[in-house]
Amino acid sequence: MEDFKEYIEDYWDGNLHGDKLEAFVHEMDANKEFRELVMLHQQVRESLRNDLVHERQQGDLKETLTGLNHKYFNPRMTKPGKGFNLKAFIVLLIITLLVAFLVYFLWPSGASQLDRVFDMPIASLTLKGTNDEGLNSKAETAFNNGNYEEALDVLQELKLEHPMDAEVLFFEALSQLKTGNVQVAVDQLSSLSAGDSGLKYDAQWYLVLAYHQLGNEEAVNETLGSIPEDSPYYQKAEILLKDR
């Protein structure tokens, strides 16, 4: 079923022909689960397509309804009501800031300290033989500016051409981490840290952060404890381990 999933969109776009189409239809007939998936795919597509197309045409209607809403529901006062107390608000704001300050600087657990220890590295790709040199700098700029979603797209495009390049894989893993795909990042960093590239220690270090974000503190301790003395992160790891 895994192989056929790739063709669902082509099937509904009418871009599946010949043997592939025949095999696809056969799979639908034979596999109820797959048939349901194909139908769900179409439902989602059609519903959202209708939504998106219609949304563009509904601007005038929305304006009419907003006007009538004001007349018949009188919603949302924009000014603060009579009960708004500026003094209480300021006191509350000061207390909030004070608590935030104390939590940030005095919190004793290793976990928050751990979050602060990890800065993202500066991306500097040294890829050779890339067809589009602009992609390198585009990936670097996006990553270094914190646009991790964009960086991820460009790095994945670079990966098509350089599937084994450690730099691409490393920064892709970090971009995955920063865009919330933590398990993917863990898998990629684990694989890199087990390899022989010049980034294996970096990968091992950021694997600690990935495990932490996954909530697997046992793996955090284990990974910190396995950082070898010749790693540039050894001392940092020792300090973190002492505090945990």
Partner: protein, 195 residues
């Protein structure tokens, strides 16, 4: 599920009013139903602002549903409007309370689903809402790709607009759809609707 089109109810005029943005007839809808919707929302943990939002969303939903070719209203407009309002509000309450709210949890509503032939069911509406929510959770890039592809922009042109190669756009589009479908399938609401 969608039902076959039958003879239109006389209230189909309100559907046409929405589709044609006829403000005087739309105002008649407000005059006839706004208070009823407000009372229903206020009785069920909502505010006047919520009532206004739900009323507007319900009319937008109805307008979108009937923009599909061949769709006609075969029941009183008010009964259908209240069914849509109830579905949207149940969905919103479920989201706020992080647990499924059902019709039996609601006050001040008489279920007329068996009495009338509604053109779209509550499940249809909940599914549409779920698909929209899952779509909005996608990353900006995915949203741009799918929106472009689904609103008829040729993929070559879309690839150029988004500054990516055609091959990569196709790959990314497929990934984005998989992500969207997975998010729908994993949603607790989907499991409830399915069951």
């Amino acid at each position: 599920m969608e039902k076959e089109a039958k003879k239109p109810h006389q209230d189909h005029q309100y559907i046409l009013a929405l589709l044609e943005n006829n403000s005087s007839q739309i105002e008649e809808i407000y005059k006839a139903h706004a208070d009823k919707v407000k009372n229903f929302i206020l009785k069920n943990s909502g505010t006047t602002d919520d009532a206004a939002d739900v009323f507007q969303d319900a009319l937008m939903t109805i307008s979108r549903q009937f923009s599909l070719p061949g769709k006609v209203l075969t029941c009183p407009f008010g009964a259908y409007l209240m069914m849509v309002v109830r579905s949207l509000w149940m969905n919103e309450l479920s989201r706020r309370k992080q647990k499924r709210v059902t019709i039996s949890d609601l006050k001040g509503y008489t279920n007329k689903q068996d009495q009338y032939d509604f053109p779209f069911s509550e499940d249809d509406i909940l599914k549409e809402e779920l698909f929209k929510e899952c779509f909005l959770k996608l990353g900006e890039k995915c949203k741009s790709i799918l929106e472009g592809a689904w609103t008829g922009i040729p993929l070559m042109e879309l690839a150029e607009n988004l500054d990516m190669s055609y091959a990569f756009l196709r790959k990314k589009k497929s990934e984005c759809i998989s992500k969207l479908i997975k998010s729908v399938q994993e949603s607790p609401m989907f499991k409830i609707i399915k069951s």
